[in-house]
Symmetry: C2
Subunit: 351 residues, 2 copies
C-alpha cells in the first residue's frame, strides 16, 4: 500500500515522540511491503510562532490531501495564562477538528498486566478493564453560538445537536460494539437537557437495526461515579462532546497506563491519530518522554487502513518492550530507564 | 432557640433515614435547650402520587416559611424509563432549587479513618482527603432556554451566567476558604466556553478582596483526572452547575464513605440539608439503610444556625458509633449489622 501521512508533531515533547512513531511505522512498512510518504506540517504554538496561526491553511491543505494524520501534542506554557486570548494552540485544535470533520473521537482505556499497580485504583477494581469511549467531537457546546450581553455582564454558550450528528456518532458506536462484547452505553443527562433527550431518543430508534447489541442509558453523573468504582463493567460508551471531554480524561487515569493510551479522531474523509497525553513542556528535548502512546496511535492508524497484522506487530513490540523493561523513566519503577529514542530504536528493531 | 424545620422525607428510604435524623436532632435540642417544630410536607414521587406534582405549592409554602429544610431523597423506579416525561421527581427538585433560590450546593468529601479501605482508591491516595465543592445550583445550562427546532430534529440547551451569579457563589467560596486552609480552586473550561471565561475573570477580580486566599484555576477535564489521582491535594473548589453535578458525584466515591456524606444547599433566605445518596428503592422499608449521612446533614443544619457545639455533638456520636461498630450492613464488613432504627436510637442515646 502507498500511504501519504500528514505529520503534525506540534509542541513540547511532540516532535520527539513523533520521531519514534515514524521510525517504528517505517519498520512496519518495510516488513510488510508498504510505502509511506510523510508530509510534515506546522501546528500549535510552533505554528503560531512561525506564521501567527495555530492551524494554518497550508497545514489544512496537507491534512486534507493525506490518507491520515499522525499528531503529536500541542500546548505551550507561554499561552497558559490567558485562556481568552484569541490566538492559542487550542483554537487550532478546534479549528482542525471542525475543518477536517473529525466527528468521532475514539479513546480506548485498557490495562497492561505489568502496570496494574501504577493505577490510583485498587488492582481488583481495574483488572480486565478494556473500554472505549466514542466522543462526539465537532458539535455540542464547543461549537454553538457563544458570546456576551449586558455590557459583558452576561455570558452564554449554546449547546446544539442535530439528529444526524447523533446518528453518525451512534452508528460508529453500534458498529464498534458489534466487533466487541455487543454492549453499548449511551451517556447523557436526559433528565435535564433537551439535547440529551434527542441523543437518547435517536439511539433508542437505532436499537432495532442492531438487535444483538444490548444498549444501556446512564446519566453522566452516575457514569462519573461508576467509572471509578467498576471501570471493568463498561465496554463501548458513546457520548456528546463536553461529557466526553470530562469522562475520557477521568477514564484515562484509572488504568494506570496513561502514558500508553492512544486515540483516534475519525472523519468522513480523513482520520487523525494521537497519544492522549499532552505536550509535557518540562520534558522537551530531554529524551525522557514515553513514545509508546504515539506508537500505539500509529498502530490504530494501520488498523484503520485495514492493516490489522501491521497494527498487531506494533502492539506486540510494545508489549515485548514492557516485559523486557525497555521503558522510559515514567515506567522504570526504580529500574533502568531508557531514553525516548532508545525505546523507539528497540521497538523498530523488534518489528 | 426556637426552630421551624420543614421536613421533606421524599421517596424510597427517605422517610426511614429522616426519622432517625429527627430523633437525633430532638435529642440534641433537648440537651442544649432548643425547641424544634417539624413541618412535614410532600415531595418527589410521593407528592406526584398524592397531588400530581413533585413540588406542590403547599410544600413550597412550608419550606419558604421554615428556618431550614431537612430533605431525605427522591426518585422512584416507575419514573426511570422515560426521562422526558413532564412530571418526574427530578422536575420537582429543580423547581424547588429555583423557587427557594438555593444557589450554592455545599458538598464536602472527607474520609473516616476506619473506612479508608472501602474506597476503590488506594489508601495512600486518599488519606487526609478533606475537600468541599461549592456547586452553583440555580443557573447555567440547567435553567437556560431549551427546546427543539427543525421539526424536532435539532435540540438546544442554552448555558447562561451573569456576573452577579458568579460573584454570589464565589463569595461563599472565598469565605469558606478563609475558615479552612485558604486554598480555592476555580474549576472551569475557560479555553472553550464564554461562560467559563466570565467565571474566571469574575473570580480573578475578587482575589484582591481576599489577599490571603491562594486561588488556582483548573480546567474541568484536568480536575476530573486529579480528583482520582490526588484527591487530598484539593481543599475548596467552586464551579458551575453541570460541572459540579459531574465532579461532586465523582468525588463522592473516592472517599469510600459515600453512605456518610451530607450536603447543604444554601439560599439567601432558607437553606436545605440532605444526604447525597439517593432514594435506594430496593431497600425501602427494610430497615437496612444507613441513616448517618442524614444525621450528618442535620449536623450541618445546626452549624448553619451558628450552633457549632450542637453540630459537633452529632458528629461525635456518629464517630463513636463507627468506632463501636454500631453500623448498618453497608459498613458491617461481615460483622454484626444494626438496623436503620437501631443506629438512630443509639446515636440519640449517645448525644
Ligand atoms: C484543549 C481542549 C480544547 C481539548 C478539548 O476540550 O477538547 C482537550 O481537552 C481535549 O480533550 O482534546
Ligand atoms: C436529579 C438531577 C436533576 C440532579 C442534578 O443533576 O442536579 C442530581 O443529579 C443532583 O446532583 O442533585
Amino acid at each position: 500500500m502507498k500511504l501519504n501521512i500528514a505529520l503534525l508533531a506540534g509542541d513540547g515533547i511532540g516532535p520527539e515522540v513523533i520521531d519514534q512513531a515514524v521510525k517504528v511505522s517505517d519498520a512496519v512498512a518495510q516488513k510488510f511491503g508498504h510505502e509511506i510518504t510523510w508530509k510534515p506540517a506546522l501546528t500549535g504554538a510552533a505554528a503560531i510562532d512561525a506564521v501567527g496561526e495555530p492551524y494554518p491553511d497550508s497545514t489544512h491543505e496537507v491534512c486534507k490531501n493525506a490518507d491520515a494524520v499522525l499528531f503529536g501534542a500541542i500546548g505551550h506554557p507561554k499561552y497558559d495564562n490567558d485562556p481568552s486570548a484569541p490566538v492559542r494552540p487550542e483554537q487550532g485544535l478546534l479549528k482542525m477538528r471542525k475543518k477536517l470533520g473529525l466527528f468521532a473521537n475514539v479513546r480506548p482505556t485498557f490495562t497492561f498486566p505489568s502496570l496494574l499497580d501504577k493505577s490510583p485504583l485498587k488492582r481488583e477494581r481495574i483488572e480486565g478493564t478494556d473500554l472505549v469511549f466514542l466522543r462526539e467531537l465537532t458539535g455540542g457546546i464547543y461549537f454553538g453560538e457563544k458570546g456576551r450581553k449586558d455590557n459583558g455582564d452576561t455570558a452564554y454558550d449554546n449547546c446544539v445537536y442535530t439528529r444526524e450528528e447523533v446518528q453518525r456518532l451512534a452508528k460508529k458506536g453500534f458498529e464498534l460494539a458489534m466487533t466487541r462484547s455487543k454492549k453499548l452505553c449511551c451517556v447523557d443527562k436526559a433528565n435535564v437537557l433537551e439535547t440529551s433527550r434527542l441523543w437518547r431518543e435517536t439511539v433508542q430508534a437505532m436499537e432495532k437495526d442492531y438487535p444483538e447489541v444490548e444498549v444501556s442509558y446512564e446519566f453522566v453523573d452516575a457514569v462519573a461515579m461508576r467509572l471509578v468504582q467498576w471501570p471493568n463493567s463498561y465496554d463501548v460508551l458513546i457520548t456528546e462532546n463536553l461529557f466526553g471531554d470530562i469522562l475520557t480524561d477521568e477514564a484515562s487515569v484509572i488504568s494506570g497506563s496513561m502514558g500508553l493510551m492512544p486515540s483516534a479522531s475519525m472523519g468522513a474523509e480523513v482520520s487523525l491519530f494521537e497519544p492522549i497525553h499532552g505536550s509535557y513542556p518540562q520534558a522537551t528535548g530531554l529524551n525522557i518522554a514515553n513514545p509508546m502512546a504515539t506508537v500505539l496511535s500509529a498502530a490504530m492508524m494501520f488498523e484503520n487502513f485495514g492493516l490489522a497484522e501491521e497494527g498487531k506487530a506494533m502492539r506486540d513490540a510494545v508489549n515485548k518492550a514492557l516485559e523486557a523493561g525497555v521503558v522510559t523513566e515514567d515506567l522504570a519503577n526504580g529500574g533502568k530507564a531508557y531514553g525516548t529514542k532508545e525505546v523507539g530504536d528497540w521497538l523498530a528493531a523488534n518489528i
